[in-house]
């Protein structure tokens, strides 16, 4: 994986010194809160409902065991023994004291991590497919390009005060696991008809109060133009994006108001006008960065593992775990293992210090020292020999990490909601917990099949509800939590925004409403293999609406 060079190390050290000084001056009263706020936000420090929150970037979702052990140490020493993995490949600590934060950032710097640009109106943590470098369907590993974007965008002087935050995501596979079409810019690695690699580029996607699917602004961008083209987009946005209203300040609104074709023309003109060689990526530099992401030397193995098959034959729980949580690796005899952070009835995305240490240990023993964090709030060991899966499973099961639900109905994305977040209008985690308990990870969940439920506790949509197969948005109406449902959303390459079912449901009734949707789907699917999203796209909203609201009005008579 990538190792800091002297520039990275110096930049992080400089920022640590600056911010430590700013914290000291704040604590001594030399700085007022108003003066300090922008500094703390630029370093990932928020004030939430109960305490400060520290958001730490995990660039493109890649972690080493050493880094994960450090996060465990921080959780134990400075927090309450756990951390929360977010929908943008960050980890958040919910209880750090401001006076300890410089020390925490020092600990992070010692393992080449930081919290810079995890907040504020700048280019945020660059995210990527969590299966990058291992997926069977991958064209090329997107992470070297994500790293190049990270370096370019870190304290970029022109783009430190954008109209609003700006999010980049990359996918190296045709199957989009990184939700690139709902990012400000999404990059999809593709091959052209000459066999060259480049990017399909999407611009203007986003969720929040005005959800938009990104427009494809380029079918094929040569990889060498990655930075020049990104600069052109961000420059047009920086100059023309609205600054008069924070709710209309994201690039998606600019694209919408200006019109996509006009936006494309402006970006292409800017790209042509400043197509200096300065930003053209030298092949040697791409190769130098790519070397850090070279796949581990995986010894050849038989495609079928005797050890796995023997165990599978005698252990139903293990068989379910392998069937559901192991994805196809590009090399025979290996699997991509999703470690679900969604135990039945648990808090989506939370991991204890002990669990983090176990995953770090398993990555060292069985996973070629690599760990990934997914935007779906799970962890991934990207290179596990099928022969080793029985041992990995046993170790995970002992720490409550062997839930066999990756991609199933109880693998729910949830924002922290009103239990932690000062912006939230309703709770989201307890709704996720109750849905998880209702459907669990047994035969019923398997029968329901692939199902992505995503929950946000406010309109800002950190829980990506618009692109959930079933989306849940928690709102407050007359002092009471109410939950609006959307159906048919999808964050993959077939990206669509969900349709609102109608009036919302109470905290008490929302899980029953989800069950009504699920039962309706089971009743109308054409075959057991037709998944929820396909069925919804075939039949539309009407049968679900009927089931949800005629049942309700009937019960009131």
């Amino acid at each position: 994986m990538y190792r800091y060079d002297e520039f990275d190390a110096a930049f992080v050290a400089d920022r640590l010194n600056q911010f430590s000084d700013q914290v000291q001056r704040r604590l001594s009263g030399e700085l007022t809160e108003e003066q300090f706020r922008i500094h703390r936000l630029m370093n990932g420090v928020y004030l939430q409902l109960h305490a400060y929150m520290l958001r730490i970037a995990i660039p493109y979702g890649t972690l080493s065991p050493r880094q994960l052990r450090k996060l465990a140490h921080i959780a134990r020493r400075y927090d309450k023994g756990f951390g929360h993995f977010t929908t943008r490949q960050n980890i958040q600590f919910n209880w750090p004291a401001l006076k300890d934060i410089p020390e925490i950032l020092g600990e992070l710097a010692s393992v080449e991590m930081h919290a810079i640009q995890t907040s504020g109106n700048c280019i945020r943590n660059v995210t990527a497919d969590h299966f990058a470098g291992a997926a069977a369907d991958e064209i090329e590993d997107p992470r070297p390009y994500a790293e190049i974007l990270r370096q370019w965008s870190s304290i970029h002087p022109e783009f430190t005060y954008l109209p609003r935050k700006f999010k980049l995501a990359l996918s190296g596979s045709p199957h989009d696991r990184a939700a690139i079409q709902v990012h400000d810019i999404g990059y999809q690695l593709v091959k052209n008809d000459k066999g060259e690699t480049g990017f399909a580029v999407y611009v203007g996607g986003g969720l929040g109060r005005t959800p938009m699917v990104g427009h494809k602004i380029r079918d094929f961008l040569p990889t060498k133009d990655l930075l020049a083209y990104t600069q052109a987009i961000v420059r047009v946005y920086n100059l023309e994006g609205r600054r008069d209203n924070k709710y209309k300040a994201r690039i998606k609104i600019l694209v919408h108001e200006k019109g996509f074709e006009a936006m494309r023309a402006a970006v292409e003109a800017e790209f042509e006008a400043d197509k200096s060689e300065l930003l053209a990526l030298p092949q040697s530099e791409v190769e130098r960065i790519s070397a850090y992401f070279a796949p581990p030397a995986l010894p050849e193995r038989a495609a079928q593992s005797q050890a796995l098959e023997t165990r599978r034959a005698s252990d139903h729980a293990f068989a379910a775990f392998v069937d559901v949580n192991v994805s196809k690796h590009r090399q025979a005899g290996y699997g991509l293992l999703t470690i679900s952070l969604k135990p039945i009835g648990g808090i989506p995305g939370d991991a204890t210090a002990e669990q983090m240490e176990l995953v770090a240990e398993l990555a060292e023993k069985f996973g070629h020292d690599e760990i990934r964090v997914s935007h779906e709030q799970n962890l991934v060991l990207p290179h596990v020999a099928l022969d080793d899966l029985p041992a990995v499973y046993d170790a995970l099961a002992a720490q409550g990490l062997a839930t066999a639900n990756a991609g199933l109905i109880s693998d729910i994305i949830s924002c922290p909601g009103m239990d932690y977040c000062s912006l939230a209008t309703a709770r989201s985690i307890p709704v996720a917990q109750r849905i998880s308990e209702r459907f669990a990870d047994g035969p019923r969940a398997k029968d329901i099949g692939g199902m992505k439920i995503k929950i946000s506790g406010c309109i800002n949509a950190c829980g990506h509800h618009h692109v959930g197969h079933i989306g849940i948005l928690g709102l407050e109406r007359k002092g009471v939590e109410t939950y609006q449902l959307t159906l048919g959303g999808s964050g993959d390459e077939s990206c669509t925004l969900g349709d609102i079912t109608g009036p919302g449901f109470s905290y008490e009734d929302v899980v029953d409403a989800i069950e009504t949707v699920v039962d309706t789907y089971i009743g109308l699917r054409s075959t057991p293999d037709e998944d929820f999203l396909s069925a919804y796209r075939r039949v539309g909203m009407a049968p679900f609406k009927k089931a949800l609201y005629e049942r309700d009005s009937g019960s009131e008579i």
Partner: protein, 97 residues
């Protein structure tokens, strides 16, 4: 409606409530109940000194319902601030209750 003044402590961000002696306390039961807007205004004026002295941030008054000697925030958000996350009974102020 009766109100209580809350804030976050600067040094660690923990939620605190203003007591009748002007101190900042961690439990709502120890807070001063302000019966009307005049009392709230007077208390907020005094709190300005604490803000200037950098003891607390995010100062705001919130509605409470008082039944006998029991004080309960009216809004869910304030209930959660006063107790802790509903999903973690062991964390936040509820752990000490």
């Amino acid at each position: 409606m009766s109100q209580v003044i809350s804030a976050n402590r600067l040094s660690d961000g923990i939620v605190v409530f203003r007591a009748s002696n002007g101190a900042w306390v961690e439990q709502l039961r120890d807070a001063e109940i302000l019966p009307d807007s005049v009392a709230v205004k007077a208390a907020l004026d005094l709190v300005e000194l604490d803000i200037k002295a950098n003891h607390v941030i995010e100062v705001a008054a919130f509605d409470v319902a008082v039944k006998g000697d029991h004080v309960e925030p009216v809004h869910l958000r304030d209930k959660i601030r006063a107790k802790g996350p509903t999903i973690h009974p062991g964390h936040g102020k509820q752990a000490a209750l």
